[in-house]
Symmetry: C2
Subunit: 338 residues, 2 copies
DNA sequence: CTGAAAGCGCTTACAG
DNA sequence: CTGAAAGCGCTTACAG
């Protein structure tokens, strides 16, 4: 593990020497410049500029036993579902001087456990991660942390400490209600990765529960286990080609899968929604621009990011937030595909 | 700025006390467990487990004047152009114990300058950022850094130290060549944000240069200045509706814009590519699934991420890399839209 | 195989 | 308005 590298930027001592003052005074220059005489301040400013000096945050944090890092654990950063949250959250938190450090678990709970060690080694001021399913050992550890833990995306069960997101069950049920009211009765399911993507699995459960309530069930399913992408959607679709004629609507585990499903159906000359309807989940940026435009649930990711940031700012500044749980809701986008 | 928060995780001293050893021995437990007696090792392991102790990386880095953070500056994380790079890079770098810290400049060069201070305060082991246009002051500062600076995405000009990416000019020229060879002669341009997105601006220049060589030029342009998204593409398109009949192909500054352009044309009953052809740039994940599927340039982002990581690992482990500049190339995807 | 001393780069608390 | 001392949590280099 000789993977470390030395970084030799000037330190406060060097700046102090050049400006003819003590280290302490350099420190004051950054935290309380008003306390310095004009002359001193100017000399330090010159030295700082000459060296492009910036105080070492590691040292600051260490000395103050504080941290200005917020750790964010997500399954992946290549899915805009998480990126939209990260982006908004970072913007808000950076305004108040915090830095967001993102780590990806790759939808792997074992890796999540391991990453938690890595993350804690940075002594973050707070931890944000998708709720609410974790290994029991992780859950226990999270519970014992003295820093704020915010679980995002999923409010289906009780958060460890704080939660921001929406209820996957309720959202999927709203989508099902829409389809039922439009007269669709013969449902098929196309999805992937349900063993790892717990939120997708919950949505499928919610859909099944809805159908059961209405005296039916999924008449056909195709579930793969290799991540979400349009291409995987096409593969999954190919796997249930024969059963398509018995269905009038396809529930996809998310918009990525639905995208591939639409492509597959288009390539096979099957009209959507004429012969079969299709719905996704998430409302990605391009979902309105598919042909036909995709009916889906918008999960308000920017709001999740913003509310999480707001919650964290309260917590980190020592204010007790009004609510432990913030439901950011969702919105049904009924477009052309169903 | 009382935005800091204390994190009270146990320290090595507490672990040492519980295990009945010195701090030093705890330190050895993590770096050289073989040096310890079985009994000592076991007692420390128990204490570590009891406290969920993880060494404080800030303190380690400070003591060793090292850093295991790689700083990555990108214009935005909501664009998969950068996310794909980040993702691959992180995976590779984490394998060798480095952590990638991502910061967004929001396509703002002033903010980039400011962010550089923030980033340097973490004393990163290396800096990665999109090349190669920066404020002169930034460029000067980057040049003076003793840590590796890798510029990614764009190899159009000479990098400060190291470069990984492709030549925007060459890639756009290849796209133009394809269109010309297919017989398109009346070109229009639809884009946005060219003052900020320097790479997009370079592509437009390359396209203009190509047309000039062939004795023509853009017969119509619509350029907005509000970021890239399908919706912006639709707006831009609306702005040149009247001129469409004089054109046979539309060059879009990227796939996001092209997506909106396709939607606009579809909504107005204009056939693509029958009445007018459309091309984008980047090959986003859904571009093959638009209707018609989008002809574009794939920019091999995962390769850029992987090669950058490989380069960094060499540099950070003190090996001189074979090449200062790595051209990851590009690939033309000639699909249905042109 | 294990430990006491010193120091990484800062800042707090005290002193003047 | 400015500075000397002490310590945040580690690890290196030395000693035994």
């Amino acid at each position: 593990m000789s993977t470390k590298n030395s970084t030799k930027l000037k330190n406060a001592k060097a700046v102090a020497e050049r400006a003819g003052v003590s280290e302490m005074t350099v420190s004051r220059f950054f935290r309380n410049p008003d306390l310095l005489s004009d002359d001193t301040r100017q000399r330090i400013a010159d030295a700082v500029a000459a060296f492009n000096y910036v105080p070492n945050r590691m040292a600051q944090n260490l000395r103050n036993t504080t941290s200005d890092i917020c750790a964010l654990l997500v399954p992946t950063v290549t899915n805009s579902v998480f990126v939209d949250v990260i982006s908004e959250m970072s913007i808000e938190l950076e305004k108040v001087g915090f830095h967001v450090m993102v780590s990806s678990t790759g939808y792997d709970m074992e890796k999540e456990a391991q990453l938690l060690d890595t993350v804690m080694s940075f002594r973050p001021a707070a931890i944000v991660m998708p709720g609410l399913e974790h290994l029991p050992a992780i859950k226990e550890r999270l519970r014992e942390l003295t820093i704020p833990v915010v679980e995002i995306m999923d409010l289906t069960s009780e958060p460890i400490a704080y939660g921001v997101g929406f209820d996957q069950h309720v959202a999927q049920a709203a989508l099902m209600e829409h389809l039922w009211s439009k007269g669709y009765r013969k449902y098929g399911f196309v999805g992937t990765f349900l063993d790892h993507d717990i939120r997708a699995a919950k949505r499928k459960d919610a859909a099944s529960a809805f159908l059961k309530c209405h005296g039916t069930k999924f008449l056909a399913e195709s579930v793969l286990d290799i991540g979400s992408s349009p291409e995987v959607g096409m593969c999954a679709m190919a796997g249930m080609f024969e059963q398509l004629e018995h269905l009038d609507v396809l529930i996809c585990s998310n918009d990525d899968i639905a995208t591939g499903v639409l492509t597959f159906l288009h390539e096979h000359g099957i009209d959507v929604p004429g012969q079969i309807a299709v719905v996704g989940f998430n409302n990605l940026h391009f979902s309105a621009h598919l042909t036909p435009s995709l009916t889906t649930i918008d999960t308000r990711r920017p709001q999740i990011g913003r509310e999480t940031a707001r919650l964290l700012v309260d917590l980190l500044q020592g204010r007790e937030p009004k609510n432990r749980i913030i439901d950011t809701g969702f919105e049904l986008f009924a477009r052309d595909s169903a």
